[in-house]
Symmetry: C2
Subunit: 354 residues, 2 copies
């Protein structure tokens, strides 16, 4: 299957480390609470979960940042936790508390009882959203689909929500490794089907958000986070060999070398490691996406521009860099500051591609 | 000044990368809530702050873990935030919320108004505690003194407590770098005096806890976290050249190479990077302290022993490793599990020193 013909395919070329005229840029959580139009649509939907499950409104908020800003990709508006929700765990959000589940999966028996849902029907709202966005985008821009990684989904399923130290999830790894693998196997199967179906519906690139990979020691990361992601990447490549895959294990700076060997096209980076250092570690095996601290957007515009220049210089000359933050944009950012960041990427990056 | 003559000087030799018969071990927060005798003494004191400011009781809780376990060092019972408290910010603890300050320092004017306290008198309770512990230890074991790092103290002073994203503190770095440096300069002066006075009172080794160094991008870490710590290390070495200094920037895995060049004797590590990888990065410039995930102590004893073996193998043969967790021991740990970890270090580590 060839790459979709798009008028702006900078992202897809950069993810494949092909030449581009400038550095493409998109922003994690670009459809988010910093935008007043997003807040209005969310209020109309009622809640975050209702917004995400409504294809018309989810499509609308996906498109909102593209109307304001010269971004090089759309990203599906959804959540990383749709699959455990489809498994019957009951996703909800407490104000200021992050995601929570009504039910948890903690014992080997609970893992055994967990069924892999019929992804196509249980998550049809996601694929309908993808199809609507694809239709609305036409041939203008690529669309990124995504899921949480198996280990990251497991932390929420075991803990019942966010955690500081992941004690219950880690205890399962240490005390019941067979049950942990059984749970991760079910998640690998579900996530693979899910991302294939997103690509079938029109996603041009796919991303695994391993938000909590950095919480694990090296041997546990390799066994319980990276290896399951490798199996997903293999499953995706078997069906959609030309759809680029991005893997982002936040905080796992010491794991970049093994991460670059699992067949992903690109790795996400946070600001804890410089693009220069990361590029030297991964050599020419993968593209890199990142990595400005979202706190930079709280600075004034000259400083924002200076930080963009530093990031571009840090990656250096050549192709294979997708500009992004190292984490989602925060609700308190002035949208005009994001505009300043994007303008700086457009202005300053062509030099690095000559 | 020669090293103090101690019957067990394994820690001091390991920090200097001198030969030892086995790997020395101590545990961050070894005097803590996992011990019933600690909880009893804390209840007697009234609150954490009252306990820490009472030299007799602070000495008592420092000694408690040494009565149970074959540890190779005592560590002063105190808090990383004593200096901002002595600056008049009013340290207190909300149950389950971590440390808080009654007053914050956020503007250039507030930074300018902040006075470096008379450390000797304002923090006399700390030096009295150190002297009591030193007296009680006799020539048995070394005593570790410590402080929070300048950047870490700054985060609490600016934010008013713990933070997820350090937005206010980072905004000061980006928007008011001169004020940030002015604040850090005052903290460098205070911390240097404070640690010199701890060594004068009987501390045999000194540690800087840079709990939030890992939250900064590489250039900000170097400028606002590492460089101030380097000035402290230089100040300490000028007065106490033979007292080993340990620097621990939690989460700053990509910064180990510059960290190994500031004159510290040892670096603390969390479990996000293997001892093997870290040892290769720092070569023979510093000793390494760490790095087991505290969650390991929730596993069963055979697994705890296996994890100790993995850590010893990861560092490999040779000297310059101080065994520790990568973060403080948590309140829910069964003390007997810590006993199993220590027994494994005693049993398994001599092999690596042959």
């Amino acid at each position: 299957m060839a790459l979709r013909e798009l008028r702006n395919d900078l992202l897809l070329r950069a993810l494949k480390r092909l030449p581009t005229e400038r550095t493409p840029v998109w922003i994690m959580r670009q459809a988010g609470r910093y935008l007043p139009e997003y807040r209005a649509t969310r209020a109309q939907a009622g809640s975050f979960v209702q917004l995400m499950k409504n294809p018309a409104l989810a499509c609308e908020v996906t498109l909102q940042p593209l109307r304001r800003f010269p971004l090089d990709a759309a990203i599906l508006f959804s959540d990383i936790l749709t699959i455990p929700d489809a498994m019957g765990l009951g996703l909800y959000f407490e104000e200021g508390e992050g995601p929570r589940f009504q039910r948890t999966v903690r014992s080997p028996d609970e893992v055994a009882a967990l069924e892999v849902p019929d992804i196509k029907s249980e998550l049809s709202y996601v694929f309908e959203t993808v199809a609507r966005i694809r239709e609305a985008l036409g041939d203008s821009l690529p669309l990124i689909g995504f899921s949480g990684s198996p280990w990251t989904l497991m932390t929420y399923m075991v803990e019942g929500g966010s955690s500081r130290d992941f004690k219950r999830a880690k205890s399962l790894l240490y005390r019941e490794p067979d049950a942990a693998h059984a749970l991760l196997n079910k998640l690998v199967a579900a996530i693979t089907q899910y991302l294939i179906a997103q690509a079938d519906a029109g996603a041009d690139a796919l991303m695994l958000f391993d938000s909590w990979g950095g919480a694990l020691s090296a041997p546990l990361y390799l066994e319980f986070s990276l290896h399951p992601m490798q199996r997903i990447v293999q499953g995706l490549k078997a069906v959609h060999p030309d759809v680029p895959v991005i893997v982002f294990s936040k905080g796992a700076h010491a794991m970049l070398d093994p991460m670059a060997r699992i067949g992903a096209d690109a790795l996400g980076l946070d600001w804890g490691i410089s693009l220069h250092q990361a590029r030297a570690l991964v050599a020419d095996r993968v593209a890199l996406q990142g990595n400005i601290d979202p706190a930079v957007l709280l600075a004034d515009r000259p400083r924002i521009r200076a930080e963009v220049r530093l990031a571009l210089e840090s990656f250096g000359h050549g192709h294979g860099h997708v500009f992004n933050l190292g984490h989602g944009i925060t609700p308190d950012v002035d949208p005009e500051h994001l505009g300043a960041l994007l303008a700086a990427v457009h202005d300053l990056s062509p030099h690095f591609h000559q």
